[in-house]
Symmetry: C2
Subunit: 294 residues, 2 copies
């Protein structure tokens, strides 16, 4: 098959956005809370996680809407984590992707509650998804709560905050990224494959692929903060160095970071081979995210 990754990403974004809009058009949510929730959901996200979930599902099954609501739920969890992460008590960011952060656009109380509501709503959407069996719902809910909670993403947030005061090793850095961003990426890939009915062994290889993909995404993020174009990124660069943050370039140097990214790429590709999934958008997405300039 001929694959066009840009078209695939663009289609996936549209699909997701349409579903998100449909969901929010018929809910009885207080207007200010509704405005705050949808503001951040439509503030220019890359939709990385849903697109990975689509790609994982599409690699093994005929395209259907079976995966759509779970992808929406996943994007909501990612969005809630950004809203809370941007709060004054956390990263204290005024802008994200060139627009005001939620608490700057609304207020802190609303931002906290919008995050809480998005998190809760994500699980409601899966529990109420008519296209899934109860077994599938429970599997997804169990995996997603585990990935995003105190042993997953939230653990990563805490360790990241604590790590700012310390010198980290490469292993520490990988651990934080694995928890903070890797768990949701792994969920995207493995849940997509699970819904496509793939056997457990191949899911485990896909999980390895997801692990390295998450790290590739992160090392590229760090590299872009050194050599990226602020225009394309929609944010200033150089802040990591300035803040003496533990990043790949600060730990390994710029060339060392690039080499580390190549290592991750090789490992990700090896895992894809073992999962028998080389002829897929998953391979294209690997290259896409590794080469991205924003």
């Amino acid at each position: 098959m001929t694959r066009n990754i840009n078209a695939y990403i663009s289609l996936g974004k549209d699909r997701l956005d349409k579903q998100l809009k449909a969901i929010f058009s018929k809910r009885d949510i207080p207007s200010n809370l509704h405005a705050s929730m949808t503001y951040s959901l439509f503030a220019g996200g890359k939709r990385l996680r849903p697109i990975l979930m689509f790609a994982s599902y599409d690699t093994f099954a005929k395209q259907s809407n079976k995966v759509l609501k779970a992808a929406v739920a996943l994007e909501m969890i990612h969005t809630y984590s950004l809203i809370h992460d941007d709060l004054p008590a956390m990263d204290n960011d005024d802008y994200r992707r060139g627009v005001l952060t939620n608490h700057r656009k609304f207020d802190e109380a609303t931002a906290i509650l919008a995050g809480d509501a998005l998190l809760t709503y994500s699980f409601e959407i899966i529990a109420g998804d008519d296209l899934l069996s109860t077994d599938e719902k429970v599997f997804l809910l169990h995996a997603l709560t585990k990935a995003s909670g105190a042993e997953g993403m939230v653990a990563g947030q805490i360790l990241d905050t604590e790590g700012e005061q310390q010198e980290l090793t490469l292993a520490d850095l990988e651990k934080i990224h694995e928890l903070k961003t890797g768990e949701l990426i792994s969920f995207a890939i493995t849940a997509g494959a699970y819904l496509a009915n793939i056997d457990e062994e191949r899911i485990q290889y896909l999980n390895q692929y997801a692990y390295y993909l998450g790290l590739i995404f992160q090392v590229q993020d760090d590299i872009l903060d050194v050599i990226g174009d602020p225009e394309k990124l929609g944010k200033p660069v150089g802040s990591d160095l300035e803040n003496d943050k533990s990043t790949y370039p600060n730990l390994l140097g710029l060339e060392g970071a690039k080499e580390q990214k190549q290592k991750y790429e090789q490992l990700a590709i090896r895992a894809l081979e073992k999962a028998d999934a080389m002829d897929s958008y998953l391979l294209d997405l690997l290259h896409y995210f590794s080469q991205r300039d924003h």
Copy 2:
């Protein structure tokens, strides 16, 4: 049967606390996050919601552990809502039940994340409860997410915040309480009855009982802020009047508030009769919470 409501409440608390401790003893949670989550879980809560859930279940079924983990999940959601509600951006409270609030004991970032983690964990516990069928899990998860999200408890929080700047009617006040505290109380009662396999019609009557019970709880809260004993309450009184807050006594006068409480009691009892559940701890709990002095 002879019922001793104080003994029943005390036993229920023990049961819940033991299960909570067991759950947190074997988890791989970063230590500071673990400390923050358990701090608020064991900061002297009344365990109202779990005890109502136990009572609802025990009214219709032989006592078993089937309801235990869902009760733990419910208490976690309640606890997360208090942690976030106490934050500087929200109610800005330094103390709750005579001890420091979470963000004062730890810090704001940790309190936000502890709340997020408790909310997420509550759903994970239900999804992973071996004593429930997948149908039961999905029912509980759907009901609990709906009760605690943007159309339930979080909606109540937003409306409560917005209501502080406005003159409210009795109907407004009831609506806010229904969302902010009533939804979780309704969940406790209806989920307990559902797990005990009660038919839908009786569950609807129990839901009515739960609705009035929630309002009774709230009006008594307001009354205690006028005539309560600060020692027994573990907090100062009179703050509602001082802050010109919309409460039953401020809206109806103290006597009017007491009369309103009696009306709610009659309606709650009528619903219990229709549910054929008069010979139960649910009746005792109604009187208990109506008469409570702390």
